[in-house]
Amino acid sequence: MHPTKSGRWITQTVSSTYLTEAVAIWLRDLRSEFRTRYAVNSILMFALTTLVAVSFSIGSFRIEESERPFLYAVLLWIILVFSALSGLSRSFVKEQEAGTMDILKLSARPQAVFLGKLFFNLTMLGVLELIIVPAFILLMEYKIKFPGCFAAMMVTGGLGLGAGTTLVAAMIAQANARGALFSALSFPLLLPLIITAIKGSERAAYGISAAGWPEVKIAAAYAVIMITVSLLLFPLIWEE
């Protein structure tokens, strides 16, 4: 990659793979996030506020037993999706605001940047789910019949959320009216995932057998497709 004649440089370039570059970007983002805690705070505060509002106005006994599995799945995914949409665009918008976009373009390959940012967004989503899902289960007395299946649905759903939004975040960071645009562009892309995740959580909580697995597979397929397509398309919007 670097046009130098010395062998030392060349071996160094060869040894830096996409993955090591991606991990370097991921760790750097985590470190800078740990210093300011801006994204994680805004996501978590948004999630906690909505959770408190839902729990306060609905509580654990307002909804009839037979309707709980479906309505609780809907409420849980509304909280998760909109909290994620409130903060995930930070990963690229902060580069634009700090003026570090160009240096990042020079120092790593586009796919590595995408993967690094994807890992960072997935970390944020992991933190969000680890806090919000148990809190939701406790506050709403959400009885889950198949915890393994439910956990798998949460993991694949989170993967899909990260996969569907990272490329959009990279686009809106370079556009006007960033905040509103991120939700407007991401939401249509996420809708198939959200429908699947709601259905899967409902079935995992209340199904006759562990019937949520097809939905887990669909969500995983969605994540794989979105990550692959994003990896192919990302260099186009990154090198503009």
Binding site: V168, N176, L233
Partner: protein
Amino acid sequence: MIFKILLTIWMSVILFAAFLCVEPAAGFPGEVSRILFFHVPTAWVATLAFLLSMIASCVYLITRKVNADFLAQSSAELGFLFCFLATVTGSIFAKATWGSFWNWDPRETSIVMLLMIYGAYFVLRSAVPDHEKRRVFAGVYSILAFCTVPFLVFIVPRITSSLHPEDTLNPAGPGMDMKTLILFLSSLFAYTGLFVWMLRLKVRMLRIMDKEQGMKFKV
């Protein structure tokens, strides 16, 4: 010019024939099955337009020819228009046969999602000031959005059951006689012709607008 006149005659013949020449299909109340000749072609043209828009976006991203982007944009706009028409006609049919304009049948869900995706596409176009960047972003978003369509068309309707008449009104199904089939196919043909005519107009308009803007900058 001759194309326009032929199209007018063709469309009027179909309009009359749809009401006068064929019997309404059995199993549907009253005359509602005549919607076949108007609703299905609009949905078909919408699909065609979105597909064309996606292909044109790919071509633009590979070759960076501005004309490909004009085609992608016009095709997306016309697809949106026809998709809206399909939604409205479908909704009227739903009222007549199922009793309500809207009940989130899987077909209705997926068509609303299509409208939302392309709504977002136009929002993105309007939000990027730089011409080159706007074209690239719109192309990328259109490809990304197209990748979610299989989920909407094939997977979501499979998870939930649908009331949409497919077997009864499908051209390959047993419920359609020869006359209906011919009229249906010629209606598809007419709507596709209408789409092509509108598309050419729209592309020409965009090209002129672009040229005018370029001239303004030069002056």
